[in-house]
């Protein structure tokens, strides 16, 4: 019985971490149809921001929930203004440029902080399930993932900014004729996506080894989740995270974490063969 609870917790935490690490990428992909290959570096910058803020004496909750998203969001806006805006309509070039950006960010961070692992202590204690020990931080991450999804939904569904965003998502040309400037929407989107990635990076800081190259550890899963989910931001993200998180954790429980990742990947490739536009391209077409 205890083991079932622990495995259940693992599955929930697997799904939650997929939601968190993929959300920023999904927002940018859903709106702009580009994959931001510097996504892992945005996560890394979020984690570094939290670590630096904490070591500067700031409360860890403020550091990860407020400072990280703001800092990385601002970086995102700067990146969009200095780089991405010149490449609209050139999807492949945008991907290549963001890949170059990812190398630049890794290189810059290495030059400043060096190639050493830093970290922060987990702010929450542990709890016991029978003979097993687990960290309270795991359910906290799950709660944060749910809150993030609710936040995205509320913003997209009930605010004017969300209305404009949905209009541009469905048909940028039509939105432009109605007086919306898609370029501005894309700028805001990129900033928002980066901010969400920064938040995720901050939240992962206590449970990850933080090095300049840490982004590479997350992007494989994030890419698969977003590509498997398709362009619908919320439904694609939630269904793909749910499916892949479940498969990954069950497979990892039965074999090893590495094989879990391989099995997750094979499942994703088969899924892409069956649903080339992702889950949401088939079942949630045109939905959020």
């Amino acid at each position: 019985m205890d083991i079932a609870i622990i495995v259940g917790l693992d599955i929930i935490s697997g799904i939650a971490s997929l939601l968190l690490i993929s959300a920023g990428l999904a927002v940018i992909f859903g709106m702009m149809k580009i994959i931001n290959l510097a996504h892992g570096e945005f996560l890394m910058l979020g984690a570094y921001t939290t670590v630096l803020s904490v070591s500067a004496g700031i409360n860890i909750w403020i550091a990860m929930l407020v400072i990280s998203p703001i800092v990385v969001g601002l970086i995102g806006v700067i990146v969009e203004r200095c780089l991405i805006q010149f490449l609209y309509g050139r999807l492949v070039d945008t991907m290549l440029a963001t890949w170059g950006l990812s190398l630049v960010i890794v290189g810059t961070t290495t030059m400043i902080f060096g190639n050493t692992i830093v970290g922060v202590a987990s702010p929450l204690g542990g709890f016991k399930v029978g003979q097993y020990q687990s960290s309270l931080y795991t359910p906290f991450l799950a709660v944060m993932a749910v809150l993030l999804m609710v936040l995205i939904w509320v913003v997209m569904r009930f605010t004017r900014a969300g209305l404009i965003a949905r209009a541009v998502m469905q048909n940028p040309d039509m939105a432009a004729t109605l007086g919306v400037n898609p370029a501005k929407v894309y700028m805001a989107t990129f900033g928002a996506g980066a901010a969400i990635s920064g938040l995720a990076g901050g939240l992962l800081a206590p449970v990850a080894g933080i090095v300049p190259t840490m982004g590479a550890a997350y992007i494989a899963k994030a890419f698969i989740t977003v590509v498997g989910g398709g362009t619908s931001i919320l439904w694609g993200l939630i269904t793909a995270s749910g499916l892949f998180g479940f498969i990954n954790q069950i497979a990892a429980f039965l074999t090893t974490p590495v094989y879990g990742e391989v099995i997750l990947f094979i499942a994703a490739v088969v899924l892409i063969r069956l649903l080339p536009m992702g889950i949401s391209g088939k079942f949630f077409k045109g939905r959020l």
């Binding site: 490449l87 070039d93 170059g100 990742e261």
Partner: protein, 341 residues
């Protein structure tokens, strides 16, 4: 066919290059020769991506997967057989089978460029994790221990076919690698000039039109992808042969990015471009490694961004267009003079 002239230039150039390769040991010292050997192996890898991306229009971000699989397949087979000839064949077959499987799911799934790039990149990352986790006695194939992140040291290098006791000297290995580069270049050139090559270019230009003319784009794209895998695997075998060592970093993001940068800098839609790009970047990385202030990733990233923004066509096509427009201008200038009197 307008390319006949180009083919002649390529043949003459290759002959001169081959002469250079064979005579290089006479006037280049051993250290530089070793350096050139690894450059040549990498240039073959650059050709594989230059071919499938520039001509087949397949955006593969994980060409290292095939390179690495070829390298590992060579290492494992060479240790088990003690003879490099079957190992070389296996180093080509394994990546081709992998490319066929992966390509089937992606290409027959009909996914877009963006998805294809992302999936191939993910494959290389998963392979990195997978091979990294193979430390310990449990993971061995025949006599070859996979060794996890430590890699496989002491891989037998290439020997004369049929005589496993006659192992090639570094000079001979250089000549072999250099000539292999030229042979792969000419082979791909010939392939592009053939009917198959024209069909894949037609598919790159307009997939629907090619399909309506009766060519199944999926079959041709899959074949292109597999040929790319074969060439990359071959390059991987030559790379292992250079250092007698292979480790999982061969699958890492850094190399995947570098291959893309080679092709972007050199130019898509040419074969000589990726070779030039590869040599330039390799030389640059070696130079950066000699100093401490600037990080190699930083420079590579900046170069990639600079080329995407400012020289999106790459060096070789830009120079070609410049020369062509200069010639054109000269021609029209003389034409006007002719009219004047």
């Amino acid at each position: 066919m307008p390319n006949m002239n180009g083919m002649k230039i390529a043949l003459i150039g290759s002959a001169i290059a081959a002469l250079g390769v064979i005579t290089a040991p006479l006037y280049v010292d051993l250290f530089q020769l070793m350096q050139l050997t690894v450059f040549a192996a990498m240039a073959i890898l650059a050709l594989s991506l230059g071919f499938i991306w520039g001509y087949g229009g397949i955006l593969c971000f994980g060409q290292t997967s095939f390179f690495g699989l070829g390298a590992y397949a060579y290492a494992i087979a060479a240790i088990n057989y003690g003879d490099s000839t079957p190992a070389l064949v296996i180093a080509i077959i394994v990546p081709v089978i992998f490319a066929a499987l992966l390509g089937y799911f992606m290409i027959y799934g009909g996914i877009s460029d963006v998805y294809l790039g992302v999936i191939t990149l993910t494959v290389s990352l998963i392979l990195l994790n997978l091979v990294n986790s193979t430390a310990g006695d449990f993971y061995k194939i025949g006599n070859a221990r996979l060794g996890g992140f430590n890699g496989i040291p002491g891989v037998p290098t290439i020997n004369m076919p049929g005589d496993s006791s006659y192992i090639l000297s570094p000079e001979q290995a250089w000549v072999l690698t250099g000539l292999a580069l030229i042979a792969v270049y000419l082979g791909l050139r010939a392939l592009i000039a053939s009917t198959f090559g024209r069909i894949i270019i037609a598919i790159r230009e307009n997939e629907t039109r090619a399909a309506l003319l009766g060519y199944d784009p999926r079959v041709y794209k899959l074949l292109t992808f597999m040929i790319g895998g074969a060439v990359a695997g071959f390059a991987g075998a030559l790379y292992v042969n250079w250092g007698a060592f292979v480790s999982p970093t061969i699958f890492a993001l850094g190399l995947s990015a570098q291959i893309i940068i080679w092709v972007i800098i050199g130019g898509r839609g040419t074969l000589i471009g990726p070779i030039i790009g590869c040599l330039l970047v390799q030389w640059m990385v070696t130079e950066i490694g000699a100093q401490q202030t600037l990080d190699a990733n930083f420079i590579l990233g900046a170069v990639l961004i600079g080329f995407v923004l400012l020289v999106p066509k790459g060096i070789a096509p830009t120079i070609r267009d410049l020369v062509a427009s200069r010639l054109q201008r000269n021609k029209s200038a003389t034409a006007i003079e002719d009219v004047k009197p």
